[in-house]
């Protein structure tokens, strides 16, 4: 298995476990956004595309140059999953802890938003679903920029 496949496999196992243990696999209004993203597989795909977008984005790549890409991808997928009320648990550090000292500017934050838009476009996520996701993620801006 390639490392990325291992990651996906372990993530799949983790999320499956989370579904079974939390019992939150029932469909509700909140679940619908998770499902609209394509559930676990959709989020994994978006995450991979998002990482690629960042890798080619000179505006923000320097923030990630020394990071562990595997870990970032795993924690981002978890975070996105929880933000859309998916049956996952975020196990990473707090947004503030992660971004403190990174000196992320408003422009850097916007660049990341655009990278995520591009990733979702490539994953064939509709504009409407994209906007629902982005509006939820936007609430974290204060925990990301100028720290």
């Amino acid at each position: 298995m390639l490392p990325s496949q291992v990651k996906r496999f372990s993530l799949a196992l983790f999320c499956t476990g989370a579904i079974l243990s939390s019992g939150c696999a029932t469909t509700s209004e909140n679940d619908s956004l998770y499902l609209a993203l394509g559930g676990h597989d959709g989020i994994a795909k978006i995450t991979q595309l998002f990482v690629m977008e960042i890798a080619y984005d000179d505006r923000v790549f320097h923030h990630f140059a020394d990071s562990n890409v595997e870990r970032f991808a795993e924690k981002f997928a978890e975070h996105l999953c929880t933000v859309v009320d998916g049956p996952c648990q975020y196990t990473g550090d707090s947004m503030i802890d992660i971004h403190t000292g990174m000196d992320v500017t408003e422009g850097g934050f916007n660049a990341i938003v655009e990278d995520l838009m591009n990733a979702m476009n490539q994953a064939d996520i509709s504009i409407g679903v994209q906007n629902r996701v982005l509006a939820r993620l936007a609430k974290f801006r204060g925990e990301v920029i100028n720290l």
């Binding site: 500017t105 408003e106 422009g107 504009i127 409407g128 629902r132 982005l134 936007a138």
Partner: protein, 280 residues
């Protein structure tokens, strides 16, 4: 002249945009809007609280634009530019050329604008973007203005503007609302001078709404109330509905249907508005 100017402007755009090696792209596409007929960043008929270009807090940016508005008995050609600094301060320059079709007479006007973002953000945080601005108008050809009873050939408008965009707006589309209060002494945007026998000036309301159908196509509408200073010539509110295409952060094309009401005694002036903008 009317043909040459837009062409010159287009050539200017092209050379400047090509030369612009480092794109100032810190803001999300579309958040700079277009350039209004006064030159200030906004919609078409009114400025918005947004600052032109895509420059964010650490960046500076600029735009060049050419606009043609054509209604039944008149046309208005505008070329201009704007420069924005740190998403805080915007300066704009515009040259308007108004043509009375009946006798092919032309009236030219220069407008210098300044706009300051005083608080908030268009998209993020709890406070809408709040800006204040001023537009200094001076007529190059004041004869018509004085003939219809205007008191002055120049004047300054002051406005306060608030704008907010909701990422997940109606129909899950990113949607913006903008409201301005403007103190103006202008008669027909200043084309017919400033102040009159009936009024010195007035506070006017301006509204705009816009919706991103996709990331590159925007539709919207605007409303502009105006002072009615001249007893001899009734002045109406103006409105438009528009569609804008933003193929990239570098370019935008905006087309609109405009209803400018009565102008200088000519009733129900409706027609089209077409604007090309380059951002660098």
């Amino acid at each position: 002249m009317t043909i040459v100017k837009p062409l010159t402007a287009a050539t200017l755009f092209f050379s400047l945009c090509v030369q612009s090696a480092l794109a100032q792209d810190g803001r999300i596409k579309g958040t700079g809007g277009v350039n209004s007929i006064s030159g200030a960043g906004g919609g078409g008929l009114i400025p918005w609280a947004t600052l032109s270009s895509h420059a964010s807090a650490q960046q500076d940016g600029g735009t060049l634009f050419a606009t043609r508005t054509n209604v039944d008995d008149f046309s208005l050609d505008v070329i201009g530019l704007s420069a924005s600094f740190k998403n805080r301060l915007e300066f704009s320059l515009a040259r308007q050329e108004f043509t009375i079709k009946a006798n092919n007479a032309q009236i030219e006007q220069d407008i210098i604008g300044v706009k300051l973002r005083v608080a908030g953000d268009l998209i993020f945080g709890n406070t809408p973007q709040l800006s204040i601005g001023a537009e200094r108008h001076s007529l190059r050809d004041p004869a018509t203005a004085f003939a219809v009873g205007a008191r002055e050939d120049n004047g300054t408008d002051y406005y306060i503007s608030a704008a907010r965009a909701w990422i997940n707006g109606p129909f899950h589309r990113t949607t913006m609302l903008n409201i301005n209060a403007r103190y103006s002494r202008a008669n027909q945007y200043g084309i017919l001078g400033y102040s009159g026998d009936e009024k010195d000036g007035a506070v006017a309301l301006e509204l705009a709404a816009a919706m991103f159908i996709t990331r590159s196509w925007v539709i919207g509408a605007e409303f502009r109330q105006k002072p009615d200073n001249l007893s001899a010539l009734k002045e109406d509110s103006a409105r438009d509905i528009f569609v804008a295409w933003l193929p990239s952060k570098r370019w935008s094309v905006t087309a609109a249907y405009v209803d400018l009401g009565d102008i200088a005694g000519a009733a129900d002036q409706t027609g089209y508005y077409l604007s090309l903008q380059g951002t660098f």
